[in-house]
Symmetry: none
Amino acid sequence: MLELSSNQWQLIYNTFSFGLISMLACTVYTLVSQSRVLPKYRNALVLSSMVTFIAGYHYIRIFDSFKGSSDGFKVMTTGAGSFNEAYRYVDWLLTVPLLLVEVVAVLALAKAASSSLITRLVPAAAAMIALGYPGEVSADDGTKILFGVLSTIPFLYILYVLFVELGKSLERQPEGVAATISRLRLLLIATWGVYPISYLFPLLNITGTDSFMYRQVGYTIADVLAKCVFGLTIMKIARMKSAAEGMADSH
Amino acid sequence: MLELSSNQWQLIYNTFSFGLISMLACTVYTLVSQSRVLPKYRNALVLSSMVTFIAGYHYIRIFDSFKGSSDGFKVMTTGAGSFNEAYRYVDWLLTVPLLLVEVVAVLALAKAASSSLITRLVPAAAAMIALGYPGEVSADDGTKILFGVLSTIPFLYILYVLFVELGKSLERQPEGVAATISRLRLLLIATWGVYPISYLFPLLNITGTDSFMYRQVGYTIADVLAKCVFGLTIMKIARMKSAAEGMADSH
């Protein structure tokens, strides 16, 4: 049992609700805005809708799980009926590879170039998430460090692909688009940076209720940035490219 | 525990239900009416749908929270399982910036002019809401006044941008549109005026169950005016502008 203060409990509760509705509103927005970009960019928008739809589902579950595992402001974190942290990992296992496919899709590269990027990014993203989970749930520092390091290897490989391989194709993008894609990569890295920071709290001696609160609030804000703000940036890029390719500006 | 009379309790309960379905009905209406305006005005309509969708979600939660925190006509306002007032602030944090983007979107200004307005209005709106919350939840009059004043600063800045900056672009709008946009601004200010009035009840010695009832009913009516009536006015403006630009009237 984790005895939160009433402020800690309410902050987490309201942050989950904020994450939930942000994901759902973003899903509807990107779904109904398809016609504002050229057909070749619509798949990137649909992928963004899928990411926020999957995340919206998981936030409904996380919200209910938090409520269901609470007795007053006490939260059960182990045993039957405890708060289910694993929803996040199931979510990331699905959404993180999709987010990377979304970036490749909005570039609208030649088929061979885009297949080559996807076949390298997707397995690396899945490996990164799968290797992070044993570290998160372990109470042993050695195991945490081991899986933290293992999960960093595919992360570095993803950075290499995004900055070196994908960087080459940025030169051929219309004016303004390359700069926005660079900002998108930075957003991705800045938000992904939040996940291991929360993961390392026990190692930094931030423990107990503080660690739990910072982790839940930090993960949720990072998710909203990495999925909603990310998706809206993808939409902006798709609209810039559509306009550069002669689509009449529909605002 | 707040011991409401049965009339007070039922008025609040039914007002929440009224707010809930007004938001959802408005969401569906603006979503399915897209084709009645020119493509360049559709984003303003979609933004209105998003505002009422987000608000509809929060009214479902507020309604359930009111029911769940009631024992007969007694409402728990502090402690575990109490009525969650914070849903409103999470709602406003998302919807108030979106409402301002909606006004800018329906003007269909040149890209630079509209970006400039949005980058000033959105952070000001977020600051206004975020600074209002500590005052609302504080039981101390000094803190209430402090955050009331702090939150008024970005509010005045928003008024300046809406009346002085945005006023300039009204001259270039077709006949009738400028007058409707002026009415829209007045609607926005009149409804926003309700929020601080309720906020100041404790300072005006309106306390206990009366304060709670006026606040809940006042906020809900203000929300319906500022989101549903506002969204329908945005739609009217979009239709007037579409007609002025030669769209065949489809009624």
